[in-house]
């Protein structure tokens, strides 16, 4: 725990952290509980999320901004996913293996304005374990090492998961667009 806290090295950051805790802890619990459907596990997810936050507080500029709210939601969701993964690792592994099969990465071709609504429905359906990777990478512009630090995995594994997420999304869009065509 001391290792995590060592990065909060100014009274301003400490104050910011306390403010986030006071303002968002119930919100974060609710988000976690939606995924986990277990009050106590949701509390564990919140606790883990706050620990992770101590190392990435630089991502929070304004405590009260919508961006901060979203960032906290992403962290706590990824922690909830982690808890679920620990409870059923075999199932999760199977998911990854299934998603690995298929064709090359042509996701970029589908990322066009015409497919905007298809993309929305696909992202909403995409598993959280993949979605949070996209959120960290694109919304918060975080590198693999930073994401790995939050998720407790290596940067290499983040990269592997990212490409699996891309393939999965690509497959979903192909299916969605194909159905309508």
């Amino acid at each position: 725990m001391f290792l995590f806290l060592a990065l909060l090295d100014s009274p301003e950051e400490q104050e910011k952290f306390t403010e986030i805790y006071d303002q968002y802890r119930h919100f974060m619990w609710y988000v976690a509980n939606q995924k986990l459907q277990d009050e106590h596990l949701a509390e564990d997810a919140v606790q883990e999320a706050f620990l992770a936050l101590t190392r990435h507080l630089d991502q929070v500029e304004d405590v009260h901004s919508p961006r901060t709210r979203k960032f906290l939601a992403t962290i706590v969701r990824s922690k909830a996913v982690d808890i679920l993964r620990k409870r059923g690792p075999e199932e999760e592994l199977e998911k990854y293996l299934v998603s690995e099969k298929g064709e090359g990465d042509i996701l970029e071709q589908y990322l066009v304005k015409e497919n905007y609504h298809h993309l929305i429905s696909c992202i909403l359906e995409l598993e959280d374990s993949y979605r949070v990777i996209f959120e960290y990478k694109y919304m918060y512009q975080m590198g693999d090492a930073q994401i790995g630090d939050i998720l407790g995995i290596s940067a290499k594994n983040v990269n592997v998961r990212y490409f699996r997420a891309r393939k999965k999304l690509q497959k979903m869009i192909q299916k969605e667009v194909g159905c309508l065509e």
């Binding site: 909060l8 950051e13 509980n33 905007y116």
Partner: protein
């Protein structure tokens, strides 16, 4: 970031916004869910550690040799010199201290004697019976009283309000059933700012002339928790865990909020009934 990535960001943002639009306001969630004690303890510990580490880091930052060895040497030299100056100054002041203490003690003693003399003159005018009664009451209040087979001592603070500006306490049942001595203590933050409260309470009983604190079976220090503005916290209290006399006239639960002490009174059904009957007779 290229156009495709920008589009993906837009999609991700919209999806997240849609998901979060179903989340009720913080206060509403807080009303429905109360964090477990283990969670509160762990987070409290984390916040305390942060505070502690932050202080240490500040000190470390000042002493890091980032400004070069010379700067560090000069700093150490200055600090040592300042410390030496302070220590030698303290030793000097300690030598002078006893004389000052003697003087202040003499002043206090003289003032006390003058006050006593004044009170003595006033009391002399009163009847001797009243005087004895008052002396007896004072002795009881200062010493302990035997209650339920053990000695209880007067509460440090006798006059305790039920509510203050911004915070109030209440019990769900001011007249309690002896067969089901469970009540709910509520602390309400009616102000506009968050407050800190101690998640421990004291049970006190009114005996003859003063409030006496009933020791808990398991004394705990309690923890300071935050109560958000406009929120209330409920604490279920099972009095069957205490050794208490259901015939005592009045009880109160004392809580600690910020720097203040608040108390809320309650009684038991039989005692209340007797009191009402007496009132009707009079």
């Amino acid at each position: 970031m290229n156009k495709q990535e920008e589009l993906l960001v837009q999609v991700l943002e919209e999806c997240l916004e849609e998901d979060l639009s179903f989340v009720p306001p913080e206060r509403e969630i807080a009303r429905k869910h109360r964090f477990s004690e283990s969670f509160e303890q762990a987070m409290q510990k984390l916040l305390e550690e942060i505070s502690h580490r932050s202080g240490e880091k500040e000190i470390q930052r000042h002493f890091l040799p980032r400004y070069g060895q010379w700067a560090a040497c000069i700093l150490v030299f200055c600090v040592c010199g300042w410390l030496f100056y302070q220590v030698s100054g303290q030793i000097g002041s300690k030598d002078a201290a006893p004389a000052e203490i003697d003087e202040s003690q003499a002043f206090d003693s003289a003032a006390g004697e003058a006050e006593d003399a004044g009170e003595g003159n006033e009391q002399a005018a009163e009847e001797s019976g009243t005087l004895q009664e008052e002396t007896s009451d004072l002795t009881t209040a200062e010493g302990g009283q035997v209650y339920c087979g053990r000695t209880v001592y007067p509460a440090e603070i006798q006059d305790v309000p039920e509510s203050l500006e911004g915070v109030t306490t209440l019990v769900n049942c001011p007249v309690l059933d002896e067969e089901n001595p469970v009540l709910m203590l509520t602390i309400g933050n009616v102000g506009e700012e968050d407050i800190r409260y101690l998640n421990r309470y004291d049970l006190e009983v009114w005996l003859e002339d003063a409030w006496y604190r009933i020791p808990a079976e398991k004394e705990t220090e309690g923890e300071w928790l935050t109560l958000e503005a406009g929120m209330a916290v409920d604490e279920e209290i099972d009095l069957s865990k205490y050794q208490i006399d259901y015939d005592a006239s009045q009880y109160r639960l004392v809580t600690y909020v910020e720097q203040d002490v608040l108390g809320v009174e309650f009684t038991f059904g039989e005692v209340f009934k007797k009191t009402m009957e007496e009132t009707e007779r009079n």
